[in-house]
Symmetry: C2
Subunit: 641 residues, 2 copies
């Protein structure tokens, strides 16, 4: 009998010993980081509300109880009973029975009403029908990404169960080494922005954090080929952690599966869905630009199948000697700070991913309280000496002013924006301004992936800022459902129509004017002197966005769009820049994050910024807070302990 | 046709083009780092003295010319001719013909006379007989190690030729990467003394420098198992460089071959022979102490077979982008500083190995002039704030005084000493003191491996200090042949006899009284109050030597030596310590090495010293010379460029 088998036998004995005699335990199995307990008496288990919590704290494991398949009632009958138990106002939109796990997935508009106070409704369901209910929210705006992911996972349920059992056994394997050390290896994202990728390693475990590309520098991918990365095989990694879905962190995650990786990806649920959306788009763009994509869309599906979603604050064993906890990073939907607790109190490292320190309209500010943390790996995008940004109140006033001036001229406002994050933030500004009469009510057209990204945001309101979450729970207050918002889904015809009509605001991808429907909008409204083009995000060197920002007004429109080669578009519109809507903490925010961090870490590695930014920030933190700080290069390894 | 084949074809064409028309070129092959040119006209080649040098500088390769096997004269006839050409005073002791390579190995007491002025005698031999002469020195004292190694290599000549051809092709393979970086990874020997092991890596190449054990801490071996070391297979290393034969640098070199390594070991010729001697003894000791040896003696032979000896100053291609040069380190016989030149002027790193900065009786001081060097990896054994040592003149005076006092009492001087290095240094002190009448002439008995180690020293006089080398070339001035020196080869009987006679000096291993014949000497002369026991080397914590130094005089003599268990030996002898004979630079020597180094490196990594020593030295070098200095931990990776 293997070590894991013995361990499971012992756990089963302990559980049998702990539960009342009238509750039978038929099996105990690992499923990813969770311990699943099968019982023929799910109703009695469910009645005993505190039992699971007590077992979990005694065994120091995450525990899920499932009915032994023998005791499940017939789905049709169960369906009736469930619909009786759940109050009608919950708005159940789908019920899905999985005989293999004994779970019934309940999709409802108001999941809280399905759960009931302290889970009382769920327990009643289990008592009545045997099935274990799992609740998901009916997206208020339908998202094809979310439904594709959910359908795919439903269809791959058998495969996924095997994967989770294998991962579970890996996590709970025996420790092999007496050595004690913790190391971080930098594979990218040092003294540069892009291709985020790090390894945290101990004598037992190797975990990869992020695996992104470098926008504007195709081919500059993380140093995966060196021996300490995948040189000894992708299977040598225990786990992958994805802080958030931006491509500079996620683009090459699916590539790992092409290289033979077959383990878990830990991230939040929205990060999983957004990664699916953005990596598939990444493949599309590569194909359109005639570049060979680094992997096929099949690998994106593999990645999604291997995702183990964690909620903020869940403490999860990911290997024999590492516990992972994700915390809100305030940057984009589902973005996380990844906190690693190594050994039994041996060492703690937090990877910031990308952070926004203060609250925005969309998100609560980044968490900076941890039980312990000795080393912080900190993003430094705006870490430079002078990287202070306009504060958001002033930025919003500036934007409103530009919109009012343009409206007064009878023109349109064209805003290139990234689909994920900044678009939704601007939508919230516009919705409030119209509601409060600061700008006139007018159509806001959303083009490109913005609508889909917004739909994903509304699917996961628990990841949004508290007050916004509460508003989304009530359809009549959901700001994203405001009448002014229009999804451009009618192609060129609809765009022409919008162009022919009166004042409007247009939000369209891509955010740096490097392709996508914004190119079409440039043709429709760019030559109109009444139009104002407003940049609200960073425009990288070499992009068309940066050129227009710098005064270019003769735009070559070679390809696509049904026009001949060599045509030139002459822009006559005003061009404005409104900063302050960044998803990143500015220099002050980064300093405040560290200053108020609790506990204060001993060491900080400044990464995810150009050479000057990381060195400025490293030096400032050293002098202000007397910590050991570093501005690592790529391909270095730091040992702690 | 592979890249290497094409390259060889091109080289052959270039050579054919360059040599006079009447010299035929039949083949061109790589053999390790050398390019071997086969010709049917070796005599004409030899006549044209400058041709090889010109070819070498034009092709930027090390070139060896060999006769096409067809043109070699019959060995018996060649033997006669060769003996006629070489002057009798050269003292030829052996001739050995190798038909496969066309070489004749000439062993002579005076190799210089075989070589002739600027190689004139060698060229004449080639002209007369076709064979290529290779000259080795007849050891003035016969060394079984040296003759075993030479016989073994003779016997493995075919195998070795295959190995060298394979390595040659590896070295001259095509470069694969456009990246440019240089990294050092620390696998041991950081903030500790022992288990020296480093990797220097570039996008093309990975080279291991040293692979030692940690004396007094069995099991604390270099971190070979991590992915960036051998995790992706021992075959992933391009080369191994051994700075010197001490076990803290060499003990685990043979283990690499057990792990599947099959590439070259670059070191000096004496380092190769001493490594053979010391690692075989290392296996013996492990067996005697009942520990499982980490590898079998077969692996020592594999290591020797894969050695490619380099002379100090030879610039050698060891991979497509790295050139290695060894320089005298002044520490023990054949000890080297390993200088790596990366790329075409890209970066230079020097690994000090262990160094002695000033001249000693045995060796010239360490070299610290290099064409270029940006980073120095520096030993720090005596790097601590107060690690200043008595200078050698005073130390010698102290030793002489102790010897005279003991002689006056009619007693014996017992000196525990390491076989390699310090024993020979003491022998030179004693020889001179007796010759100059500073101490009375008396027998000096050499026990343990000291005699054998001395024999190896006299085999390689070109590695000794200039004036010592010159003396060894004349038998009547060779200090190691002084009449007073006696090799104890008669076992207990001879020792008893020495004990029963009058005043004498006894040098015996082991140096820290942890085993070996010194244990027997303790019994023979230790209880005699007329005896003086003199420590001339560092005694590590936990050794019997350290205990005796601290005043212990009741020695448990449990096992071996024909005595019963539980016997106790009571020492009545005087115990003295004379420091200043260390093979390591002291704090002042380390500072002077760096201060006068030319060019001054930008960065220094202080290693091979305990935590305090490395940090003290790192901080001192930073403050005095304003360089970037580090005291790395094991398992870190530093990137340069
Ligand atoms: Zn981001
Ligand atoms: Zn980022
Ligand atoms: Zn520093
Ligand atoms: Zn040494
Ligand atoms: Zn050493």
């Amino acid at each position: 009998m293997s070590k894991v088998e013995t361990q499971l036998e012992d756990l089963k004995a302990e559980i049998v010993n702990e539960v009342p005699n009238d509750i039978s335990i038929s099996d105990v199995q690992y499923e990813g980081p969770e311990l699943v307990v099968y019982t023929r008496d799910p109703k009695k288990f469910a009645k005993n509300g505190d039992l699971i919590r007590k077992l979990a704290s005694q065994l120091r494991k995450r525990i899920t109880v499932r009915p032994d398949p023998d005791v499940l009632s017939v789905p049709d009958r169960a369906r009736e009973t469930i619909m009786d138990v759940i109050p009608e106002e919950a708005g159940v939109t789908d019920l899905d029975f999985h005989a293999d796990t004994g779970e019934v997935v309940i999709e409802a508009q108001k999941p809280g009403m399905v759960i009931g106070r302290h889970g009382s409704t769920l327990r009643e369901i289990t008592q009545q029908v045997g099935w274990t209910p799992e609740v998901v929210r009916t997206p208020p705006i339908e998202s094809s990404t979310v439904s594709n992911v959910r359908n795919f996972l439903k269809q791959e349920r058998d495969d996924r169960r095997d994967i989770l059992e294998r991962i579970g056994r890996q996590i709970h394997r025996e420790e092999m080494s007496d050595d004690e050390w913790v190391r971080i290896t930098t594979l990218g994202c040092c003294r540069e922005v892009g291709r985020a990728s790090f390894i945290i390693s101990t004598p037992e475990t190797r975990v990869l954090i992020d695996c992104g590309d470098k926008p504007g520098a195709e081919g500059e991918v993380p140093y995966l080929q060196v021996p300490e990365a995948l040189g000894s095989g992708a299977q040598s990694l225990d786990a992958v952690v994805l802080t958030h879905a931006h491509l500079d962190h996620s683009a090459l995650i699916p590539l790992l599966f092409k290289y033979g990786y077959d383990g878990p990806i830990y991230c939040t649920e929205p990060t999983r869905d957004l990664m699916g959306l953005l990596t598939l788009d990444y493949l599309d763009v590569a194909a359109k630009e005639g570049r060979a994509p680094p992997y096929e869309s099949e690998m994106v599906r593999e990645a999604i199948k291997h995702c183990i979603p964690l909620e903020y604050g869940d403490v999860t064993d990911i290997s024999p000697d590492i516990k992972l906890t994700l915390h809100n990073a305030g940057h984009i939907l589902g973005s996380s700070i990844a906190h690693f607790h190594v050994g039994d109190g041996l060492y703690n490292v937090a990877f910031s991913g990308d952070i926004h320190y203060t609250d925005t309209r969309l998100f609560n500010g980044a968490v900076n309280e941890f039980p312990r943390v000795e080393t912080l790996v900190l993003e430094s995008t705006y870490g430079g000496r002078n990287d202070y940004q306009t504060d958001q109140e002033d930025s919003e006033r500036n934007l409103i002013e530009v919109i009012n001036e343009t409206h007064d001229k009878g023109g349109k406002v064209l805003i290139p924006a990234f689909a994920v994050g900044r678009s939704q933030e601007i939508m919230l500004v516009l919705e409030e301004a119209m509601r409060e009469g600061k700008i006139p009510s007018m159509p806001v057209h959303l083009d490109g992936m913005i609508w889909e990204a917004t739909a994903i945001h509304t699917t996961y309101p628990e990841y949004l800022r508290d007050d916004l979450r509460d508003r989304i729970f009530h359809d009549d207050e959901n700001p994203f459902l405001a009448d002014e918002f229009n999804h451009i889904d009618g192609g060129e015809e609809e765009r022409q129509q919008v162009a022919d009509e009166g004042p409007a605001i247009i939000l369209s991808t891509s955010g740096m004017v490097t392709g996508g429907p914004i190119m079409s909008w440039l043709e429709h409204v760019g030559p109109d002197p009444e139009t104002t083009m407003v940049f609200v995000g960073y425009q990288a060197q070499g992009t068309l966005g940066r050129r227009i920002q710098n005064g270019w007004d003769e735009i070559p429109m070679g390809n696509g769009n049904g026009r001949g080669r060599g045509d030139t578009l002459t822009l006559k519109c005003d061009v404005e820049t409104v900063d302050g809507f960044s998803g990143h903490a500015d220099r002050q925010g980064l300093e405040n994050f560290v200053k108020t961090m609790n506990p204060r870490p001993e060491k900080v590695l400044c990464v995810h910024g150009d050479e000057k930014s990381t060195q400025d920030l490293s030096s400032a933190l050293y002098h202000e807070f007397n910590m050991r700080t570093f501005a690592p290069k790529n391909l270095e390894t730091f040992r702690f302990l």
